[in-house]
Amino acid sequence: MYRYDEFDETIVRERIDQFRGQVARRLSGELTEDQFKPLRLMNGLYLQLHAYMLRVAVPYGTLSSGQLNALADIADRYDKGYGHFTTRQNIQFNWPALVDVPAILDDLAAVEMHAMQTSGNCIRNVTTDQYAGAAADEIEDPRPWCEAIRQWSTLHPEFSFLPRKFKIAVTASATDRAAVRVHDIGLQMVRDADGAAGFRVIVGGGLGRTPYIGDTLRDFLPKEHLLSYLEAILRVYNEQGRRDNMYKARIKILVNALGIDAFRNLVEEEWGRLDKHGVDLPTEETARIAAYFAPPVFNGDAGATIEGVAAAAPPHERAAFERWLKINTAPHKTPGRRIVNVSLKPIGGAPGDATSGQMRAVAHLAHRYGADEIRVTHEQNLCMPHIAVADLPAVWRALDAAGLATANIALASDIIACPGLDYCALATARSIPLAQQIATRVAAREGGEETLGELKIKISGCVNACGHHHVGNIGILGVDKRGEEFYQITLGGSAADDAAIGERVGPALPTSGVLDAVDALLDVYQARRAPGERFLDAYRRLGAEPFKEALYDHADA
């Protein structure tokens, strides 16, 4: 993975000094809270319901064991012994004191981490496929390009006071695990007719109050021009994006107002005009960055198979191990290796939370068995991308002992949920307790949730949609009705290659009705699905009607 040189180190250190000064000016009263707010936000510091919250950047979701250990230490020293992994592949600490924040930033800098641009109206942490560098179907590892974007976007002199926040996601696989169609800019690596690698550029996707699936801005951008093209898009947005209404300030509103063709004309004109040599990295620099992401050397048994290790497991644990292998691990491009997903969704737990002990357990396993690499997924789990198949039994047992082997990746209890009203100042309803109850209910269904297959449930505690409910196969949005929590259900959403915004199926339900409603939806699905058909596909084939009927007949009953 990428390592800082003295330039990267200097930027992070100078940013901490600057922030320390800003905190001092706030405490002395020289800065008003209104002035301090955007400054602290650009360093990841929010003021939440009960306390400050610090969001630490995990650039494109990649962590080393040493970094994860440092996060565990911060959780113990400055917080309540846990952290919360987010849909932007970052980690949040919910209880730091303002005076401690510069010291936390020092601790982060010691392991080449920071909290820069994890909030504010600037370019946020770039996200990517958690299987990057390990997936069999990728064109090339997208992370060198993510790192190039990280550097280009960090303290950008022109784009630090945008109309609104700006999120970029990158994938290099045909199977989109980075939700590129619901980002301000989505980049999908593709090849042109001559076999050269470049990017399909997608723009104007997003969730929030006004969800959109992004449009294709350019079918093929030569990869060496990535940064100058991004610069052109950002300049058009910075100048033309609305600033009169924060709810209409994202680029998706601009793209939709102008139409994709008119927007494309503006971007292409701008790109044609700007000095690409002043922005695009020379090949020496892209090669320098790429060298940090060379595939880890594998000296293990290339012939080992998961069937083999499963067959060798002791009989009393074979079924559980096999189930975990099937659900939580994925094929690796190198024979003899496997991608291991680490579920942060124990049945009844808070989605995305990890204790310091769990972080250390994963850090240790990645160090011992996994080329020292950990990924944070946008679905709020962790991932160890490079595990030798022969080591899977040992890894599984250790994860199980740490409460991290719940076999539910991509199943119904693998729920994305925002922090909701338990933490967030914007929320109108709680998310975490509902996620806990739904997970418990679906896991208890006859035959287990495994019989339901892939099913994405996503919960947001308000219209800002941090829980991505719009793109949940079952989306749940918390709303406030005269001081009571109600939940609006949407169906048929997807954040993957078949991206779609879910459809609202009817009036919001009280908390007590949501669990039965989920059961009713799943009953319809199980009764009417074709063999092997996923919930999403069944919904698309059957349409909303049968689900609606079950939902509201049930609610009336």
Partner: protein, 161 residues
């Protein structure tokens, strides 16, 4: 209010500021030669992506951009266009709601002077040096970034090694 020149720290009293012409007035007059020494004032929402070909900014020695609120980042792109697209080589002065933490960003897109309260000069000068290295090329080398962006310095170092 005084005007602080960013590269050398010189200050100019408000009373010594030049007379001003708005872009709208200049356009109404057919983009003619301004009164000697006048500064051109650009509205914050003026679209500089394309202007009338008769608009020769170099007729002015000084251009003033306005920042209505520090959260509004349009002026950064305006200044960048003045420098890169129109080749304007004179003074670019910013006024309005500017935080000291923004001044180095401004210098890096080509701002050369900023209007500040008399007692704010020290803090602004300090913040204008917050960072010593930059990932992006700065628009002009007005003392803000003589060494060039980090990637260019890395390449130069690799070449020397």
């Amino acid at each position: 209010m005084i005007t602080l020149t960013l590269n050398d720290g010189a200050v100019r009293a408000g009373a010594d500021a030049p007379a001003e012409t708005t872009f709208a007035d200049w356009a109404a007059g057919g983009y003619g030669t301004p009164a000697h020494g006048a500064a051109l004032v650009l509205a914050n929402d003026l679209d500089l992506s394309s202007v009338d070909p008769r608009a020769n900014f170099s007729l002015f020695g000084e251009i003033i951009v306005h920042v209505p609120t520090f959260k509004d980042g349009r002026a950064y792109s305006q200044v960048r266009r003045l420098r890169e697209q129109y080749g304007f080589d004179g003074v670019v002065r910013v006024r309005g709601d500017v935080l000291r933490d923004q001044v180095q960003f401004m210098a890096r897109v080509g701002v050369t002077a900023v209007d500040v309260a008399d007692d704010a000069v020290g803090g602004v000068k300090e913040s204008a040096r917050d960072f010593s290295v930059f990932y992006q090329a700065s628009v002009r080398q007005y003392g803000a970034d003589r060494a060039g962006p980090i990637w260019r310095r890395r390449a130069a170092r690799a070449l020397a090694a």
